[in-house]
Amino acid sequence: MSNGEKAVPIEQFIQALQTQLDRAQTAMAVKAENLDLPLTFAVKDLSLDLRTHVEIVKSEVRIRPAGPADSEASTLHLALTTITRPMIKENAKTMSLDPDEPSLKEAVGDQLTDEEQKRLEWAGVHSISQLRKLADSGAGKEVERVADLPVDRLRQALLRASRPFVASVEPDDGANEGATDPLVRLRGRNLMRNNLLPRVSLAGQPVNVMAANDREIVIAPNGDQLSGTLSIETEPGQITEMSIDLPAPKRRASTQSVVEEANDDTGGES
């Protein structure tokens, strides 16, 4: 194989092979239809002995071309067979991931290197909820062994991923008709832990928390609490802080500055 001396990920190679087999199948089906043939041929088995170099670059298996007169190349033996629709269903991975859930990279930021994240993916950990589940089940040692990732670093990454993160701040004008203080909705993730209301303060003064769940906190700041440092603590040590500047009540807040500030501060989370 040759691709300008460039190694390619093995998944990319296999996908390209599968695409070509699909195209060949489609072409023959079209040909049978055009020639009015009742029968056509379908791939049953395929085996490929490929002369190549296999290498690992940054925890990724790559195939490097075996050039002309390259007698030291390895032979990669690939065997493919067709499977039925029930077999596809049986072997398909259940996608139980929440579409709103941040990726591992988004959640842990620079707490883990790209290579460490890749090794976790090797171990089947693609999301922070999977990582948390593993840690809660006491399988940290197994992960340490499989992904070559120290338990302490795993714990730090989880701590970082569990910090409260606020993506938007919006005054809730409509829902607070007649109330003394305007309500403000804070939306994001990790905003509540262990079913305990988070502690929220603004400019150093406590703020009433009216309701909370993992994705949203509704607070009722006093009339004079419109700007300053907003602090959210979901459990000891899990605090996020950011500066906010709420406009006058009954107007929609611009969350742009909040998001930008959050992004400036350690990649979106503080």
Binding site: A16, M28, L37, F41, A42, V43
Partner: protein, 82 residues
């Protein structure tokens, strides 16, 4: 790689499609299964931004030091209703 090398789908469609076309209605014998073992020269080539599996039969009968040692493709086709 030369410009003569084609994506795998084109090569397979030529080879197996030829056998498919050879079917003559009413003729007593027909191919029901095709097994091929082919020497192929393989590359991944960027075609229209897509990484394409290019695999074709060797162009030359006599290989020179500038040619790849071919890989080997073994493929089995079976007849199905179209």
């Amino acid at each position: 790689m030369t410009v003569w090398h084609r994506p795998l789908a084109e090569m397979l469609t030529d080879v197996v499609g030829g056998i498919q076309e050879a079917h003559t209605p009413g003729f007593i014998v027909r191919a029901r299964k095709v097994e091929l073992t082919l020497p192929i020269e393989v590359w991944l080539r960027d075609i229209n931004g897509e990484s394409t599996f290019v695999a074709d039969l060797p162009i030359w009968r006599w290989r020179t030091d500038f040619d790849q040692t071919p890989s080997r493709l073994q493929i089995t086709y079976e007849e199905i209703q179209s």
